[in-house]
Amino acid sequence: MVVEARQQEFKFRDGRFVFGATCMGTGFIFSGRSPHAEAETLLILEAALAILDEADGTFSLYKPESPLSKLARGETSVAQCPPVVEEIWDACEAWEKVTDGWFSAFTAQHTFDPSGLVKTWAARAAARYLESKGIVDFTLNAGGDIYLADAATGEDDWRVAIHKPVSILSADAGAMLVLDLEGTDFRAVCTSGMAERGKHIWNPKAAESQAADELVQVTVVAKDLVQADVWATAAYAEGKRSLQHLDNWNRANPQDQVQLLAVFPEGTLAATPGFEKLLAQTEPASN
């Protein structure tokens, strides 16, 4: 088994910080402004990273000794796992109901795979930890899923770009659209697609495991990071009907809006009606 060395970087100047580290096969970037000195800021960020590591250690299906791997092999029960496993299990069941079954952590082989939720669930916990320690002015890029803290003040913090449905390592990588979430309730922008990791989302309603492929990428904007992530996975699995699905959801849940942008294989863009308001209108004053 190959253990990848952790990449970790930290920069701090005049209260501004960027902290990036690999975890869960992807990377997390916290950037913002800290009221604390450099050393204390780093301690807080490392403790937040430890929250991510702990979730990885518990839920990774790539690590044979993780409680979840044991659970998948039938070597243990939920009751014997750390309490957090039951918490995630319950959350997955709840989200499966909310999404009409389009988000499902239960595979065709009847094993429990909450990978679609764990990353942002842990990222949200890490973000809350920062906030509890007085670092409230920051953004978090959780492997391409973005969280904005309420008190983010950076000039461009509220401007979130959505990448084209190609890998950011590809020659034609670049931003497709820019959102401006300032003044809205939206705090999370999550994207699902096959650009980086191939066809990894399955249609939970197909009898056999079957890759969802009606859309090449979906981006969901919501108040909450986990909510946005779950809906992005669900919408990707559901395909083009997800646009109508979320439009119906928004009409029924005016206090809990979830906006969706979908990219079709031929490059056409489609979105729920409320998405338009989130598009950045003008260039910011910076530069």
């Binding site: 990449q7 960027v18 391409g144 950011i168």
Partner: protein, 162 residues
Amino acid sequence: MSRNVRINIAYGLISATAIAGGLVLTNHFHPLTPAAASTGSTSGTSSSSSSNSSSSSSSSSSSSSSSSSSSSSSSSGKNGTQTSDAIPYQFGQVQLTVTEKNGKITAIDYSNSSATNGREQAFPYLVQYAIAANGSNFNNLGGATYTTQAFQQALDNALAKF
């Protein structure tokens, strides 16, 4: 003023031509057939009647067969509302009602557009904003879950702003 804009998004497939009097959505990957685009030949969808032009998205009625056709209708009108031809495309048709005030587009009503399975929401404005996205400043670039190599690229980006 007429301006022709063409942009490659994703795989370089959509292009929009915005003209201050009419607005046409074209999709170069599945080229439109100009013959069919001309008028009534579009089957089914174009609901006749009710030429009320209460723009904005929700109303499902709105005008139809009035055709101040697409591109060359340079109808100097700086104020008012015009409706494009019903343009068929692979998944349905697009018909737009554009409202202008002082030469500026203030509303685009696509409610008479139709498509299969949600494609009716393939809004042309997305294309326009995509044009504006180039060169915009932003802090975070979101996308499908990064691999660790892609993460390094994102991190380098963040650090470069320091």
